[in-house]
Amino acid sequence: MELQQKIEAILFFKGEPMSRKKLAEFLGVGQIEVNEALEKLKENLKDRGIVLQEKENPASTRGDSSTRGGEITLGTAPELSGLIEKLQKEELNKELSKASLETLSIILYKNGVNRSLIDYIRGVNSSFTLRALSVRGLIEKSLDPEDSRRYIYKPTFELLSFMGVKSVQELPDYELVNNSIESSAQNLAEELQAEESQNDANL
């Protein structure tokens, strides 16, 4: 059997996220083979009822995306959300406060960020909000690979799932935001605004 089929079976059986590294180890193959197989699997799942979700390790980790690792998991296609929701018994919390929206947008679009930067951008202490979002499973913290005395906050699969995206790259304006240097925040904000008014005009 091909590698991609094995990976699909493993992910199906586990039913929860797994790291690319662990997959390679378990299958006794290299990281590059795993990455290639995952690309094929993604292609294969294109018109299916299930999708492959992926999360890269934070960008601050050195190395390009082929060695950066990250986690993957299987989920139901976002287009079938309404159908599957009817089967779901547990209550879903779809409410987000303004503080949560601000904090999540920083964490999602930066794909991993330490707390001081979140506080700096928001101008307020974010401890409460970060704790509440962790408890809801929308974010998780891990040690900063660049500075082991602090944590970085990252989006979880749960967050990507609620957003209906397979990876952060699918978020609207993601490329726009990440390709520009921060100091041109004003330009970006204007571009986004221009885009918005165009969208409004199209409605």
Binding site: L96, E102, L104, S161
Partner: protein
């Protein structure tokens, strides 16, 4: 009793309306359809300060981050009223920094709009827990009566206490209070010497006096607000929670 409670409640909603200083500032600027720059910041300073003054009365514990920003706004306002006022490079830096931060904040609030419109609309569901086909029992030697007690106590002990105060902000406030009183002094001097700089702002002598008195009163308000916070931290035990991070 009944009406008292209702009043408190509506107060509550008002203060909760703004998450922080940037939210307030950006709302004031957007209300006027301005862009973020020193001119627009100077224009909204009064509104900002009167809001902070109101907030200070209702919820002194929430105010420290608002006051840090207030101090910079006063600098901007002073400069716009008194072009002759010389700012130190640190003060210039503060002003530039505030503009930059506000732009960043604006960017992420816009992006937050994407999140608001998408969150929970098309959910990707992880599979439900698989039922065990066979019965297993696989304990671990580390599960003992004693270890379980220690784990439970540790977890409970790590929970945050109810009061959080941003330690850094409180410290900053002390020095900003000093800065404002120095600034007030400087402004008073500058006003005496360069009264004609005001020509563009106020036409008649009476108008000039009103502008100056109003401006100084505004500074006073903020100064008192800051003092209040400092007193709180001197006479009351503010629990400064050290985060586990």
């Amino acid at each position: 009793m009944e009406t008292e409670a209702v009043k408190d409640y509506s107060y509550q909603i008002k203060t909760d309306a703004f998450e922080g200083p940037f939210h307030l500032l950006l709302s004031l600027i957007e209300e006027r359809k301005f862009f973020i720059n020193d001119l627009s910041l100077a224009q909204v300073t009064e509104d900002y300060l009167s809001y902070v003054n109101k907030l200070e009365k209702q919820d002194p514990s929430e105010i420290s981050s608002f006051i840090v920003v207030a101090a910079t706004l006063i600098l901007i306002k002073s400069k716009s009223l008194l072009p002759n006022l010389n700012l130190t490079s640190e003060e210039e830096g503060d002003i530039h920094n505030l503009e930059e931060r506000l732009k960043l904040y604006e960017l992420y609030t816009k992006l937050g709009g994407n999140i608001k419109s998408m969150f929970g609309k098309k959910i990707i569901f992880a599979p439900l827990e698989r039922k065990n086909d066979f019965l297993v029992f696989l304990p671990d030697d580390r599960i003992t009566k004693e270890s379980m007690m220690t784990f439970a106590r540790d977890a409970l002990g790590r929970m945050p206490k109810k009061v959080f105060l941003p330690e850094v902000e409180v410290k900053k406030v002390v020095s900003i209070e000093e800065m404002i009183s120095r600034l007030t002094e400087r402004i008073e001097k500058t006003l005496e010497m360069n009264f004609k700089d005001f020509a563009g702002v106020a036409k008649t002598k009476e108008e000039k006096v009103v502008v100056i008195i109003g401006f100084l009163a505004m500074l006073e308000l903020v100064r008192q607000g800051i003092l209040h916070v400092i007193q709180e931290s001197n006479f009351e035990d503010i629990i400064i929670k050290k985060n586990n991070e």
